[in-house]
Symmetry: C2
Subunit: 659 residues, 2 copies
């Protein structure tokens, strides 16, 4: 590919693009999160780390960051999008990010979303000010992914006008609960609501955990989860309830209420639909995690790219100085496609946040809109958190032994984000949810998400929609038949071709899945087996869907760039994001006749070319993320390597010269 001379990043234009709709929140976070109080520290003991994070949280409680997500009536900012963006900026310590998410996102957010006016008035001010540190007590030891099967009970006692909250056995203890081991005073507890001997499914109640002295209240037992792989500044704990009594009004009663006589009522008749409606209001947590994962990946890339730009190893025959790591193709291939995908996910994340924000600000979403939002959130959370784990790992390895030292931050970023792939929804379970949502997209009612419901449905109603989708087929056939060769290489960078390729894959995988489910059901096999046999196909359908969404978001963002030089760079970056994905997934395209072998090899060659073209812009691209140097903190990213080389130059040897 010829070098286009106009490719040159304008830092301000790039920053504007990346800061996006909530630029003001990002600027505010850059202003607030500075100084020694917020500087990353390594090597803290668990107790010390927890204390520091709590102190930091107190400092943030005095700022608007604490209030963005809450109703203006109670002093909140009324800006959900801002609350998600503020969360993702807290890369100076991911323990702080998660602790803030527990207090103001999960705990406060559940009161806001599931409670009614009386809860808002009574609790939200204390939630925001941190007078009332709280927990989101959903997960139990026995049930993490299958929340509908939680076993804690909240049994109504009409004589006392109270609920009795109880942990029936060890599997029902609340587990991994953030803010529980040390700080939490109050908890939103998810429990099976029982009244008049009848079960009404999972509901949330406010249950006190500790008194003003910090002593657990009678009937509450709390245990520390102890050290974890990371996030040791967050005090995760286990909670047992021994017939703990709370007033009837402790029930967060927006979607289900109990009258004084014990009568249950709900605006939603179907218990299943009610449950998923309640869960749906909590989708912000997943979206926030996807954003936080993205920032961690950005920080790791900023460190590795800066180091890769100055670190030298091995000499080349024709020059006195040693070769800079980022000049090696293998190094480019490790870092630059990951950088491109990080950009793509950034814009997909912004779209998702906007969708959440606008959905809450405007007319309530209809069922399908809500389901699509939830699937979008689930899919992006899974993809973004796996991407973060892989990218940070790659960055660690790209920095060699230096990347293994705590002082260079990569170990902490890696360990802290590791749990992102399994908390707020296990990624595999989430992708399955996306796959099922795609399958049930035309279904009119909320249904159980168990294998039986889906398989039955697919066998019955779904096939009509498949026919609609096959309209795209003629385009696809045309694409596949384009002869490979020189003209085929330029088509690789054509956005229309890329889009058609990814859309077609999405549709074809889904069609094939529906076909297999139908054939399985027709064979008379039991529904579990039918669905389980195609589980890998379900996950692929979900990935193909998310891949297309992410592509669209990046392409749309590039279309918004006015500065020609910046745009030229981002067009290549978008090409790299897409073609490195196509390269990774090229087996599928080959198997299904969408790429010829020659074209597939051309994709690999194009990825190499794009790496070379983008290499000069790598530093500007990571600088565009707008992460403060003090957040990166790693000496290898902040001049230590240059200083060593300069010392050697002063000693009379050319920089990087081999002895």
């Amino acid at each position: 590919m010829p070098q286009r001379d106009d490719a040159a990043i304008d830092a301000a234009a790039l920053r504007d693009l990346l800061d996006g709709r909530w630029a003001e929140v990002r600027r505010r976070a850059r202003e607030v999160l500075r100084g020694p109080e917020f500087a990353p520290q390594h090597g803290l003991g668990m107790a010390e780390h927890r204390a520091r994070v709590t102190d930091q949280l107190r400092l943030l409680a005095r700022t608007d960051l604490a209030r963005y997500g809450f109703s203006p009536e109670y002093g909140g900012g009324g800006d959900v999008g801002a609350s998600v963006v503020a969360f993702e900026m807290l890369v100076c310590d991911l323990s702080l990010m998660v602790k803030l998410g527990v207090q103001w996102g999960l705990f406060g957010g559940a009161i806001q979303a599931l409670g009614t006016e009386r809860h808002h008035a009574a609790y939200l001010p204390g939630v925001m000010s941190l007078e009332t540190p709280g927990c989101f007590a959903m997960t139990e030891t026995g049930h993490g992914s299958d929340v509908q099967a939680l076993r804690t009970t909240a049994t109504f006692d009409p004589d006392a006008d109270e609920f009795v909250v109880h942990t029936p056995d060890e599997a029902a203890r609340k587990d991994y609960i953030g803010n529980a081991a040390r700080d939490g005073r109050l908890a939103v507890v998810f429990a099976q609501l029982v009244t008049g001997g009848q079960r009404h499914g999972v509901h949330a109640l406010l249950v006190p955990l500790r008194d003003a002295d910090g002593t657990p209240v009678p009937g509450v037992r709390i245990e520390d989860c102890g050290p974890k792989a990371g996030l040791n500044g967050v005090d995760n704990g286990r909670i047992w309830f021994d017939h703990v009594r709370v007033p009837r009004t402790a029930l967060l009663n927006r979607y289900g209420d109990v009258a004084a006589d014990g009568t249950y009522s709900s605006p939603i008749d179907s218990p299943n639909r009610r449950f998923f409606t309640m869960l749906g209001t909590l989708v912000r947590g997943r979206i926030s995690v996807a954003g936080g994962a993205g920032t961690a990946a950005k920080a790791a890339l900023a460190i590795a790219v800066r180091y890769g730009e100055v670190r030298r190893q091995f000499s080349r025959p024709d020059r006195p100085e040693e070769v800079v790591l980022l000049d090696y193709l293998a190094h480019q291939r490790r870092l630059l496609p990951a950088l491109a995908r990080t950009y793509a996910l950034h814009f997909a994340q912004e779209e998702l946040v906007a969708r959440l924000h606008d959905g809450l600000a405007g007319e309530p979403l209809d069922e399908r809109g809500q389901r699509e939002l939830e699937a979008h959130a689930a899919g992006l959370k899974a993809v973004a958190t796996w991407h973060a784990s892989e990218t940070i790992q790659t960055c660690r390895e790209a920095c060699g032994g230096a990347g293994y030292l705590a002082e260079n931050r990569l170990p902490q970023l890696r360990a802290d984000t590791d749990v992102f792939t399994t908390f707020e929804g296990d990624n595999t379970v989430l992708l399955q949810l996306v796959g099922k949502s795609l399958l049930t997209n035309y279904r009119q009612e909320f249904g159980s998400l168990d294998p039986l419901g889906t398989a039955k449905f697919v066998a019955g109603q779904f096939l009509g929609t498949v026919a609609e989708r096959t309209a795209a087929r003629s385009l696809r056939d045309r694409l596949a038949r384009v002869a490979p060769g020189r003209e085929g290489d330029s088509v690789l960078r054509d956005q229309g071709w890329q889009r058609a390729l990814l859309e077609d894959r999405e549709n074809h995988v889904l069609e094939g899945l529906a076909r297999r489910l139908r054939a399985g059901s027709a064979s008379g096999a039991d529904p579990f087996t039918v669905f389980n046999d195609v589980q890998d196909h379900v996950l692929l359908a979900a990935r193909a869907h998310v891949d297309r969404l992410v592509f669209e978001a990046f392409a749309a963002a590039v279309g918004r760039v006015r500065d020609a030089g910046t745009r030229a760079v981002l067009e290549r970056l978008c090409d790299l994001a897409t073609l490195s994905l196509v390269e990774r997934e090229r087996a599928w395209f080959l198997e299904h006749g969408r790429l010829t072998p020659a074209r597939a090899k051309a994709v690999t060659a194009a990825v190499n070319s794009l790496c070379r073209e983008l290499r000069p812009h790598a530093r500007a691209l990571v600088d565009g993320f707008g992460l403060r140097d003090e957040w990166l903190a790693a000496p290898i990213a902040l001049g230590a390597e240059e200083a060593r080389q300069a010392g050697r130059a002063r000693a009379g040897e050319p920089v990087g010269a081999r002895s």
Copy 2:
């Protein structure tokens, strides 16, 4: 695929197979590494952890584990294979594994391999008894991969009959040196030897670090590397030398010596060849790391499989109890191919250890034999350590939140092994070394491994060998032309077909690489650019080579099994290892016409079938590793989950029933 009823593991037969040639060493390690002194602990502070590991090492110094690798003349066991196997058994704490490796492998091993009788007699007894804790001071801050370019100097002063060891600048400080921050008294220091104003390349010398009180000796400055991602029981440090004087006899003089008058002499004329000969004697370190990585992967799989066998989540419509995780196809797909590959790597490792051991015990290897051993070690180290990182990560995620808790060991295993991918040779650099070794396989002399040398050589001499290899082509053409379909599915499990497929890929990738290098050289491009442009191809050639070696080792091991039931299971496991590899790499096979699209899809289907067939044997397969329960330590692998479910059953509900 039909279920073969004869597949059933005989535990003793499997253990014998896996324990292999050094079964006695494994049994000994199981005997020694027990009790509270060696039980894994989590949450230790760095100082406490270091102290504990040093205490453990002292206990081991009293056992034969310390002596296996040393000459019998000085009280050693004279069994290098045993020393590598003993190292890999130390999974109870990988800090202990690495600390032992530093003391008796790297430090003691360098004295043994690079020193002469005077060093052996004077130092080996103290090395073995731990009276003399020591360091292997090779890596510098500025040079890790490119060891030939180290900058520490050892300048001979004939007047004093001493060497002056010196750190000329910050980039030349020794870095990441195990045993340096706390315990080391003596170091093998790699430095540029200078005598009479002439440089003779990197040599090793014994330099004291601390006196009997543990105080650094004059001229030596030591700094702690501080906390790391893992291995915090190992005291890594940085060392500066300020004109430190050591006697002339401190030079480990097997491959290069300096007479009293300053005259340099060596049994190897070429400085380049001398350097690589010295390095080659240290190959055991890499082999040991590959083995240690393997054991860590085994431990993680043992934990995740045991948990996956009892942990339940989500109900199926037709049964009262919830579904066990390992019954989900997606869960099988995560764990079982990784388990199969772990087996394959185990046998490849045993072959490599035997090759090293027999090479040292018998006639010295010729140059080609030595180069192949080194390439074998480099390739297996890269592949095995990446496999361990990925596998432990997968196991962590497969255990959800429980996998993130320190008490369940997976975080520590993951963090400790993380550096294995970049120490003892960065994996990318090692694979490049393998690729170059393949290219230079017929070359008669040691040559510089820099890009120029290789590219020139390839353009000149290499092409002859390519012609020889094409003899395999007719077989390949035949394979590719086999019609897909029913008979094609059974061919997938044919070992001959699998072997031909992997051999052909290995040869074809190498041929293509040679062709591209030749074309690049012919084009007049500079050698660095020529080589850099195909760097991804070099890495692929290396991987294809290692993949074939690993396959051969597993297939050969299965062939040694007499018990029919065990053999039937291991045949499937070997099929799964191979076919999941082919599945992952199927894009290449499709691009090169080695698999038709239908056959490629059949490979995916076969992987799913094999997962289902092997699922009942998963527990027996991990038990076969022979890792003591107290090494696994994780409550989730040792009955905690069963206990919770039993508690629930006692409470009157069927185990795993959904509320």
